[in-house]
Symmetry: C2
Subunit: 336 residues, 2 copies
């Protein structure tokens, strides 16, 4: 090929072409999976998803584009109902862009597609060779031959048909424990000292004192986690429940909760409680449907600043709920 012979001089041209091919491949994957989303929206939407509401300039700086680019895209997304805009209370110049509830729901379903794209692209990009040029050449070849698109399809099919499994603590998954929890903590609150300690060394702060950590996986991908902290003999705290954005709504949270309760019972615990926040609506719903009841008073001596919800597990309530919803249909990984 002529451009290849030009070496680094044609790098700009080739990078642009690869970039466009990648957008095309991602869009094809979205369409095939039935999502009406454009790959160009990813940086903005993803930023809003993991960081929460943000201003135009904040997003622009984070994704490395100019503010008009974000502004124009925001206008389009607003017209299509993906995001809403209100002016910042404390600074009337600034706008606050926020995902609509529907957009949030849509994005929470994109995990499998994203994961498929990520895996396929990673496989195509891993070729050794050292220089960017070699890596690029290999990548171009994979795109041109259709291997990338086929890989995305294959990975997506696997992920779609895979079921969420619960796995016990593994030392090499400590990073996932940290990553998954840091995401929602940073979005909704700030990392408190306790958090930093526990996330930084879960072995020392959870496992060794007699607690447990569980992971939810989908086709080998760690997509969720939760911890059972031992407060006192027979007293456990359910904590650090997190499911990766993009993989929510597939039942991982419920499976983690059930597995945690089972673990609590296996250890013959007497008391299981949790602390949470009113802001985390869906999580509270999950806890309620899992057998937890709201405790009227805040927990004395809570570890967390953010805690304004205190719930306790009631086996009797759990039994009643199970009986009522007895023939609960199996949750599939990808809806319907």
């Amino acid at each position: 090929m002529f451009l290849h012979a030009q070496g680094e001089l044609a790098l700009g041209s080739r990078l642009k072409a690869v970039s466009e091919s990648l957008y095309a491949a991602a869009n094809a994957a979205y369409r095939e999976a039935g999502h009406d989303i454009d790959a160009h929206w990813f940086p903005v939407l993803r930023y809003l998803q993991v960081r929460g509401p943000a201003s135009v300039t904040e997003i622009a700086a984070a994704i490395g584009q100019t503010h008009p680019a974000v502004s124009q895209l925001a206008a389009k997304l607003r017209a299509q109902g993906w995001i809403t805009r209100r002016t910042d209370r404390s600074d009337a110049r600034r706008g606050v862009l926020e995902l609509s509830a529907e957009a949030e729901r849509k994005l929470d379903r994109l995990g499998p597609v994203w994961c498929a794209i990520r895996r396929a692209a990673a496989a195509a990009a891993v070729r050794d060779g050292g220089t960017l040029l070699d890596a690029l050449g290999a990548f171009e070849a994979d795109i041109a031959s259709g291997r990338l698109a086929a890989d995305i399809r294959a990975h997506h099919a696997r992920l779609k048909d895979a079921t969420i499994e619960i796995a016990p603590y593994r030392r090499d998954w400590a990073v996932h424990f940290e990553r998954l929890n840091a995401e929602w903590l940073q979005r909704w609150f700030t990392l408190e000292e306790v958090d930093r300690a526990v996330l930084g060394d879960p072995q020392a702060h959870v496992i060794d004192p007699g607690g447990a950590i569980l992971f939810a996986t989908l086709d080998g991908e760690v997509i969720g986690t939760c911890a059972l902290l031992k407060e006192a003999p027979g007293v456990y705290e359910l904590s650090k429940m997190a499911v990766e954005s993009g993989f929510r709504g597939f039942g991982a949270g419920r499976k983690l909760l059930e597995a945690a309760i089972a673990e609590f019972q296996r250890r013959r615990g007497r008391t299981l409680f949790l602390e949470s926040s009113k802001r985390l609506g869906p999580a509270l719903q999950l806890y309620e449907s899992g057998g937890f009841v709201h405790h009227p008073a805040p927990r004395p001596g809570s570890h967390y600043q953010r805690a304004d919800v205190y719930m306790v597990y009631e086996p009797e309530k759990a039994k009643r709920l199970r009986a009522k919803a007895a023939p609960r249909k199996q949750l599939r990984v990808v809806g319907r």
Copy 2:
């Protein structure tokens, strides 16, 4: 950075950004060196330079863009006098785009800038790591820190102040001998069987039979070559003279010619001749000014189909020319 945390999912976005940074860096280098050329034109102009006149669709296919892209750029370049367009004699649909004489001259001067960009980009792109993502990260860092731009400037300064040197044959430079000659042969003629043999194994076809190969270098970069073939005892043929497009007009051809004649004299040769073609105007001028005279009849038993010019070296003429142009001023690598 946010996009980095998104891994392969943000690859498209990042590649595009890097691509644009590269264009910007190249444009800055062009401006600094005083060339009024846009980096986006490179694929088209370079194609026309190394391959000669071509149609819109041919170029589009070669550079991996759509034909309207080339068509539109061609219109712009035509308006600015870079290229001319005539309709193909044998197919009235097809147009033949060709560099104007002035454009050809301008492009012939771009070698040092191109080389500087190539070297700087190669240095930034070589980081180990294996995956495209790592290589890209390193490249982005170099762009952001301004290291790439500084490197380009530094390399260009070196190349600008370097002088062209003549070096004897080296086995590891055989590839350059092939590359440099293949370029003009493919552009103006086609590779004949003799060419393929000589270029493929210069050691066996030139050096071993008692000939010589010379290289012109600029700051370590091989930018030109020529060969002295031993026809018979005392009879030598000057052949395979080639200077890389982009480095023409800097005097490399003259230096090669002079060095070849010196080598011929060092070997106490009696006859030095060459075969060429009327189509290669500038080369013929060079030969004439170097002391060669046109021989009226074609050489009996020529090796080449393309040869319609037969010149013989006359020491007397060379002496006269030297006397006339005695205080010839030193040629600088980059004009004024």
